[in-house]
Symmetry: C2
Subunit: 122 residues, 2 copies
């Protein structure tokens, strides 16, 4: 694309379109999936979930796993996000399939964040 | 794309990839441009800027105008964001061209937010 700009990351900030599509690994170096998108509070601009895409084949049958933004850390040497998470734990995690998206209300937030051992702060 | 999910917005949250590309209008119903992407704090997940793309032709010669997230409001009847901003004011606003991105440090944040009459809170 001709309108791509180059600085999509500073020491402190990252561009939304750089986050999307970025691979996610665990500490055992297993690829867990990639970031599909992330959900932002319309009013205060706080990112509540990064949505991991995982499973399926060529995009068919994918499941979507909302993650607390805070458990992701970017590892430049991996070229992706690293989270401290066993594949087995991810496989039991809250997820949804296309067309079955959650309401993303406070109850849902509590259950997702709880699963990853993080307090839902919103 | 087969992996597109449908719920990209709830009453409270919006998906990152729905924000990108969304048209921006002012209160006089003039189209100011569209959201190119937005810049997120890597640690705390706070969106600091939505970047408006404006000017140029077919993406060549575009300028990028970082805006405080808080001045954008989504108008479902317009199918886009509305900001209270004259075109003349936007034309004088802080901007950069491709390849000339700012450092996005605190000084820059203060000057951008000041221009729009908002206190830079980060």
């Amino acid at each position: 694309m001709v309108d791509t700009i180059e600085t999509d990351e500073t020491s402190r900030l990252i561009a939304s379109n750089k986050v999307e599509g970025t691979a996610v690994y665990n500490r055992q170096n297993e690829r867990l999936g990639s970031i599909y998108n992330f959900m932002v509070d319309k009013k205060n601009g706080q990112v509540e979930y990064a949505v991991l895409q995982f499973g399926g084949f060529l995009g068919i049958g994918n499941d979507y796993y909302p993650l607390p933004w805070s458990i992701l850390s970017y590892d430049t040497s991996q070229g992706g996000y690293v989270i401290d998470l066993d594949k087995d734990v991810l496989e039991q995690a809250p997820r949804y399939s296309a067309g079955n998206e959650p309401a993303y209300d406070k109850n849902y937030g509590n259950s997702v964040y709880d699963y990853y051992g993080v307090t839902y702060p919103y």
